[in-house]
Each structure stands twice: as structure tokens, then as C-alpha cells.
């Protein structure tokens, strides 16, 4: 199991919840963004590009670059860096322009 890069000192996160990422159940905390919950466990690849089929991850982290878009609860092109997790959320790595 990967040790998370969450910093625990001096902080009480929100309630522990679970989300499903590409069929796998992972732990997240209320208040976290989808991107943070994934980066924290070294799941960096969030999508593959249309033309070169290259892996992409978070880049700008503030909702500008659109690189971190994933399929979240059935909606393609949702920015993982701007979307807070929710218990039971279904997240998928996006291929190209999505579904």
C-alpha cells in the first residue's frame, strides 16, 4: 500500500469517506478535491490525450489549464482540481475527449 503524502500534523481533516476510481475504492476526506485525494496516493495520471495518447496530470492546480479533467459522476471534462470529493463519487481516468 502506498503511504499517502497527506500532512497530518496540526490538522483535522473532514470525515473519512470512500470514492471509486477506475473501479477501485479509495479513501478520501471531506473537503478534499478529487485531484488532492489522487495525488496524495501517487495516482498522478488523470487522463490520456486525444492525439498522442500521452498521460497527463494536474498542472496549474487552480482551474485554469484544464489538464486534470476526468469523468466524474458520469460528466466528462470535469476538473479534478476544482471538484470536492463526495461519498460514493465515481471517478474515471478520461481517454481523449471523454464519453
Amino acid at each position: 500500500m502506498t503511504i499517502s503524502t497527506r500532512i497530518d500534523r496540526g490538522i483535522q481533516r473532514g470525515q473519512q469517506i470512500r470514492i471509486t476510481v477506475d473501479g477501485e475504492s479509495i479513501v478520501a476526506y471531506e473537503g478534499e478535491t478529487v485531484a488532492a485525494a489522487l495525488i496524495a496516493i501517487d495516482r498522478r495520471i488523470l487522463r490520456y490525450t486525444t492525439k498522442r495518447n500521452e498521460p497527463r496530470s494536474l498542472y496549474c492546480g487552480i482551474g485554469v489549464c484544464q489538464e486534470c479533467r476526468m469523468i466524474i459522476d458520469g460528466v466528462s471534462n470535469t476538473r479534478a482540481c476544482m471538484t470536492p470529493v463526495r461519498a460514493g463519487m465515481i471517478v474515471k481516468t478520461q481517454q481523449g475527449i471523454g464519453e
Binding site: 488532492a36 498521460p55 484544464q66 476544482m82
Partner: protein, 467 residues
């Protein structure tokens, strides 16, 4: 179409927008602040999510403490802030808003655009690999989410953000391999910095002494040449640069890292001021194309104001003063205060702004992009991340006769993807200038079109404001 009317609509709840709102509201203006993030504060004063409890707020740094004061004042003044909202279209009197699957318009007598800035994208081989992040993005992850973006981290670029971030990452337990800084300040430039405002000066000295204390090398005159790895960053090729930031051949070294933070300063978010039709000018020191404004932050269009990094990158202290002045000028335009009150209330912010600007001129001179900044790209390097267009693609288009950004669009689709040219636009201004042998100031930026940020089509069908 559902609409609502206010006297002053402010876009952006960062230091400029909130400072303006406080002044305007105190003068009796009916004001609303619209912001894309879940909580107010903007990037620099970004707060942890509401669901997090922070036991030791001192760990969040000086910016957080400064932001806390402003956010407390905003709460006390009961400023109306609407968070989590994307402004996707604008005229000089209307803002089209969207949240999830709903959209609505806000009309106003005056508009203030306090839209801030984002990390300057600088393409180089490997910059799209997972594990190469902007420094601002990594800092956001750290400050707000309390998550480290990696374990063995290299920072590269220029400017104070990388120094701040290196310390914050080390403090949080990451291994910071080095900070590569393009600029090598000369003695007289350092001496000029010493005349700056005390809080900025003490911040700067603190960052550097803390790096020394933590044994983090600050390598001046070095930069990242290439990020390498299969599907994520595994190593970094670094090398020396000359005073123009051009690579010096034969100085390359490879170091093992799992994460690279790129911080090359910021570029202003100007899509709304361009969409509305405000005049813009090119100023390399302020981050590229910026809206023109008068001494009181009014743009070329009456009652449309600009303030903060979105009107030219200058940092949060300047943003606060510009915001105050813009808020007061809007109140004056709306006849809430007279000439005498306006002059009295703006005297202090205007004086402070003059002091800060003197200091800023020196800093800008050090960190403004120099000729070599865009020379790490190869023909295969992607410039437009959305449409995956490379430098080679752009070179071929120019060889076929393209001389403007608009003429690159057919065939390449650069600037037409999901980010709406925010990432490739600033680079393409420089690239097309070089390829055509002209100055960047003669290369007009892309024309923004609504929606300036992607919104679901469903939102256009459901036109009503969220509760």
C-alpha cells in the same frame, strides 16, 4: 433569462476584489463579489476547505495571517460573496454566471475585474509529464489541501514564489533537492532592493536564510532543461544559463527527482477585460498584455474597473491598494461620495502604491522574462496542451505564411481548446514574435469568445440562479 441588478459587481474574491468591496460597501454601494473558488481569498489568501480544522494556523505562513485579517474584515462588513461561480460571458454592464447546471445574468452600474493571475507557462521538453506541476499549483495543494505533491522535489524558474514554496515543502517533510533560479542579481540591484518596504524585505531575507538553514541549495544562474521519465517524472536535466537566460552548452547535469515545480512568475487573467473590449497594452514586466487604466484603476471603458494582478502582475500588497482605490472610484462614479471625500480616502492608498511601485520596478527588472526563456523548447515540444500543437507545428505554419495568432488557428487549432488559450496564448505571443522577427508588442493576443470557461450546455437551458 433570469437577471439580478446590483450597483457594483466584482469578479474575484482575492486581495484586490475584497479590498475594493470593503471600501465600496463602506461608502454605501450595493456590491456583490463573484468568485470561482469554493471559499474567498483568491490564490494567495487561499483558505483550507471548511471541513478542515487547522490546530496551528501559524504553519500556514505569513500570507495566510495577512489574508485572515482581510477575510475577517469582509465577514464583519457582511460583504455579499458568491462562491463557486464561473463568469463565462461579460459586457460592460452584464456578467453571465454559471454554477453546475444553472446560469443567470447579473447586471450592474459598474464592474470591477479583479481576476488575478496564474503561473506563466514555459514549455520545455517533458513539461507535460505527470509530476511536472506549476509552483502555484503545488503551493495550493500544500496550503489548502495539506497534501505534498511529491517526495523528492526540484524547483525551477524565477521569482520569490519558489523560495517561499521550497521552505514550505521542506517544513512539511518533503526532500527539496534544489531551487534553480534563472536570475543572478548584480550588487547594485540588491542594494536597490534594500530600499523596499520592510515587510517585503524581511520576507525575502527570511526565505533565503531558511533555505540555508535547511541545506537547500539555491542555484542562481541554473535552470531546468528537460524533464525525463516514462509516464511520470524520474529525472531532471539541469544546466547553467547566461545573463540573458540562454543555456550554456556543456554544463548539463542529470538529477533524480520525482517531482518538478515550475515557477516563472505570473501572467494576468485578462479574458474578461478583452471580451468586454477594454484597451490593452503589452508590458513584459507586468506579465504581457494588460488592460490600460487611469490612476484610479478605471479602464478605457467608463465604469469598468481593473485591479490587482489581473491588471498587471505586482503582488498582493499592490493588489490591496489598487482594490481600495478602484472601490472608492466606483463609489465616486455612483455618486456615493463626493470629490472631497474621494481625495481624502484615496490619499493613503495612492501614497502607499507609489512606494510599492518603486520597489517593484527593481524586482520586475530581475524576474521579467529574458531572451533565453523560451529557448529550451524543441520542435517536438507541445506548446498548446489542449490541442497538442508543438513548436514545430507553429514553425511550419509561420513558414507557410502565418504572421498572427489568429492565422495559426486553422489547421493547428491552437488556442481553441478547453483552456481557451490561457496556457498557449502567452507563449505563442513570444514564439510568433521570434519566428516572424517582430516584437511581442506587435503580436495581438487571441480574441476571447464566450464561454471563456467551459460550461455545461445544460446550464444554458436552466436559467435561474442557485439559492
Amino acid at each position: 433569462m433570469t437577471t439580478r441588478h446590483v450597483e457594483l459587481a466584482i469578479v474575484g474574491a482575492g486581495p484586490a476584489g475584497l479590498s475594493a468591496a470593503l471600501q465600496a460597501k463602506a461608502a454605501g454601494v450595493n456590491v456583490v463579489v463573484i468568485d470561482e473558488n469554493e471559499r474567498p481569498g483568491g490564490q494567495i489568501f487561499r483558505q483550507p476547505p471548511a471541513a478542515f480544522q487547522i490546530a496551528d494556523k501559524n504553519r500556514l505562513g505569513r500570507d495566510f495571517a495577512r489574508g485572515r485579517k482581510l477575510l475577517d474584515a469582509v465577514r464583519e462588513a457582511e460583504i455579499c460573496i458568491e462562491s463557486g461561480i464561473t463568469v463565462w460571458n461579460a459586457t460592460s454592464s452584464t456578467l453571465s454566471c454559471c454554477r453546475t447546471d444553472r446560469s443567470w445574468d447579473i447586471t450592474s452600474d459598474a464592474i470591477l475585474l479583479a481576476t488575478g493571475a496564474y503561473d506563466r507557462p514555459v514549455p520545455l521538453p517533458g513539461w507535460t509529464l505527470p509530476g511536472v506541476f506549476t509552483s502555484g499549483g503545488v503551493q495550493t495543494m500544500l496550503k489548502s489541501q495539506r497534501v505534498l505533491a511529491g517526495r523528492r522535489i526540484l524547483l525551477a524558474g524565477t521569482g520569490p514564489l519558489n523560495l517561499v514554496l521550497a521552505n514550505q515543502l521542506a517544513e512539511a517533510g518533503a526532500t527539496v533537492v534544489a531551487v534553480l533560479e534563472l536570475a543572478r542579481p548584480r550588487l547594485h540591484e540588491l542594494a536597490a532592493l534594500a530600499l523596499g518596504p520592510w515587510e517585503l524585505l524581511s520576507d525575502g531575507i527570511g526565505y533565503v536564510t531558511n533555505l540555508v538553514r535547511r541545506n537547500i541549495p539555491l542555484m542562481r544562474g541554473w535552470t531546468l532543461i528537460e524533464a525525463r521519465g516514462s509516464d511520470h517524472v524520474e529525472s531532471a536535466v539541469i544546466g547553467r544559463v547566461d545573463r540573458d537566460w540562454r543555456s550554456i552548452k556543456g554544463t548539463e547535469r542529470v538529477i533524480e527527482v520525482d517531482t518538478i515545480c515550475l515557477g516563472y512568475g505570473l501572467v494576468p487573467s485578462t479574458e474578461l477585460s478583452r471580451l468586454i473590449g477594454c484597451d490593452h497594452r503589452y508590458d513584459a514586466q507586468l506579465g504581457g498584455w494588460v488592460p490600460t487604466h487611469d490612476d484610479y484603476m478605471e479602464s478605457s471603458i467608463p465604469s469598468v474597473f481593473v485591479a490587482g494582478d489581473g491588471s498587471g502582475v505586482a503582488g498582493s500588497l499592490v493588489a490591496i491598494e489598487e482594490g481600495r482605490i478602484a472601490g472608492l472610484r466606483a463609489a465616486w462614479r455612483l455618486r456615493k461620495i463626493d470629490d472631497v471625500a474621494f481625495r481624502r480616502l484615496t490619499a493613503a492608498p495612492l501614497k502607499r502604491l507609489r512606494q510599492l511601485n518603486r520597489f517593484r520596478a527593481v524586482l520586475d527588472g530581475l524576474s521579467a522574462p529574458r531572451a533565453g526563456l523560451f529557448e529550451r523548447m524543441t520542435d517536438d515540444t507541445v506548446i498548446c496542451r489542449c490541442e497538442e500543437a508543438s513548436l514545430g507545428d507553429c514553425r511550419q505554419a509561420v513558414e507557410r505564411g502565418a504572421v498572427s495568432l489568429t492565422e495559426l488557428k486553422p489547421g493547428l487549432r491552437v488556442g481553441m481548446g478547453m483552456c481557451q488559450a490561457r496556457i498557449c496564448g502567452p507563449t505563442l505571443v513570444e514564439v510568433v514574435a521570434r519566428l516572424t522577427g517582430r516584437t511581442p508588442s506587435s503580436i495581438m493576443p487571441f480574441t476571447p469568445r464566450p464561454p471563456v470557461k467551459p460550461i455545461p450546455l445544460a446550464a444554458l437551458l436552466k436559467q435561474e440562479p442557485v439559492e
